[in-house]
Symmetry: C2
Amino acid sequence: MTRKAIVLLSGGLDSTTVLAHAKSIGFDPYALSFRYGQRHAVELAAAKRVAEAQGVADHVVCDIDLRVFGGSALTSDVEVPKHSSVDQVEENIPITYVPARNTVFLSFALAYAEVVGATDIFIGVNALDYSGYPDCRPEFIKAFESMANLATRAGVEGGAITIHTPLMDKTKGEIVQMGLALGVDYSLTSSCYDPDESGRSCGHCDSCLLRLKGFAEAGSSDPITYQGV
Amino acid sequence: MTRKAIVLLSGGLDSTTVLAHAKSIGFDPYALSFRYGQRHAVELAAAKRVAEAQGVADHVVCDIDLRVFGGSALTSDVEVPKHSSVDQVEENIPITYVPARNTVFLSFALAYAEVVGATDIFIGVNALDYSGYPDCRPEFIKAFESMANLATRAGVEGGAITIHTPLMDKTKGEIVQMGLALGVDYSLTSSCYDPDESGRSCGHCDSCLLRLKGFAEAGSSDPITYQGV
């Protein structure tokens, strides 16, 4: 029997790879995306393309507005930092950090899981390339899982919620290799924090630089179009 | 120095008492309410009245739509259960349970706390009268607190998030007594799951019955108007 799973899908490289992985190990994926006031709404169009291309049981887009609190470049009017090389990517908590983002996203995933009767949630967090984000660390995920098992009917009635993080210890290069092996079409994805109006990636924000490093490490080339190229 | 705190404020009896309590022990409250597709939007008007009457540093209303997932009487079209006496109130998980609601609400409170620089969050959960809700139990709150301390800058940088639950072990009667001693004006509040168009409470849903029991136990009378009275 196929088991249902919630897959957090931003439409970027990581979550797209996670969706392909969840399907490959036999889960029936319910994709969940967010319209959270982010400037890179181009992501959502990518999420829709990816969900359609890979095939999902359902794809829900939740409206949540983290801008009411302010506090991050991704959701307010602070300028997204640009760099010429990946070595300049922030090692401390970057200003593009959205407060409690993964906590909020996983909470919605938990609600969705309860409703469809799933006990498995997939999220593309990665401890290597995003060491600056507290809510991308394995100890955070474990703590969320423990909390989730006390928060829900499933936990109370003897089930068990599992948060899957298949990319946790992988380099960007390994993630790209994993996705290519699963047949992922990365031309459908978008990772840029600051795309132009036609959706082309900037090539210089932290997210673009890490993505390009991933394709280079995997010995492949990124199929998306960058601005000025 | 006054310390900032986030106070989850629904506009009902419990959260209104919690707000008065947080102020009384010296916190500067930032009230947080949600427009989450609930049928009892009358609550939000009550939350605004209460925040204004008690005085808060700020009051943010977040739009989140849990209806996209379905699954509860409070946010979909299932009929709210009515009873003639409080003895009939459900002891198991009631159908008015909203999936992962307190997890979602506390996640937003955590985001708000990060942005304003607060490390204290107040929530009016109660383990006695709401034993059927998994996310009202002390073990859930403790687990959320542990997770929050791993999720945030505050946790990473050595601060500590505290989730305060001053009503956890109180009966409804004790809650009413506590509020009356703090000078709470309960005529501003609304607890009903199914109010009529002019905002009057039904008097027969679980929430109304527990509220009325609370005032009776406290030897007081409820100052709000009920339908048909």
